[in-house]
Amino acid sequence: MVSGELKLARPAHVHAAKPMRHALAAFLSALEVPDVEQVDVITAVGEALANAVEHAYRGSQIPDVSLRARLDADGTLAVDVIDGGRHLPVVQHIDRGFGLRIVRSIAQSIELDADAADGTALRMFFKLSA
């Protein structure tokens, strides 16, 4: 039975996205998720991380960005990307750029909580082959 959990929190510098993606990829590899399935997950989560670190950088104080991933034995992967930045009005959140469009194309489903107490929270669900 293969399963696992990953939680990372660190200041949301633009340079945080890359090592966080790499940690997620290595986490998935350790859980025997084939590369071809990893690619899409990393692409979607990469967008969420890019938004988090890009947005956070606009303020003067740098909040944290956190990534939480959980792979269950049935192949369900849930990933949260949470940032502590002041979020932009919800109307602006939807489909302005490519980011969320890409996330929506890849993830089985998403939950965007722009009113999360601690900033913006994007939860993505992926169905892997298990």
Partner: protein, 108 residues
């Protein structure tokens, strides 16, 4: 394309993410004498939407200036994100450098 000296190559590599936005912005410029551009992304292993946005800006400007751009992309991630963003109809993507060059020959 008869004059090969006006044929430009822009080579990018590694992971083109949000941290490299400004570097990418500076790299994706159309030379004054360029008649055709080969954007060699064969060594790019990852791109996010901030990179796609820069690529789209570049491609749009090139079209306005009637400078054909051929993109060489081999990484599965790059190929897939371009599709997810719906940009595969906008960019001229080639797996093979030779084919990209043939396209530029015929288009310029």
């Amino acid at each position: 394309m008869s004059d090969r000296s006006t044929f430009e190559v822009i080579k990018l590599s590694g992971e083109l993410d949000v941290a490299r936005k400004e570097e990418l912005h500076a790299a994706l410029v159309i030379g004054a004498s360029a008649r055709a551009i080969l954007l060699d992304m064969s060594e790019v292993t990852y791109a996010d939407s901030t990179a796609l946005t820069e690529m789209l800006r570049f491609s749009t400007q090139a079209e306005r200036e009637r400078v054909p751009v051929a993109i060489v992309a081999t990484s599965p991630q790059l190929d897939r994100i371009i599709h997810y963003a719906g940009l595969n109809e906008v960019f001229k993507i080639f797996i093979d450098r030779g084919e990209a060059l043939s396209y530029l020959e015929s288009a310029s």
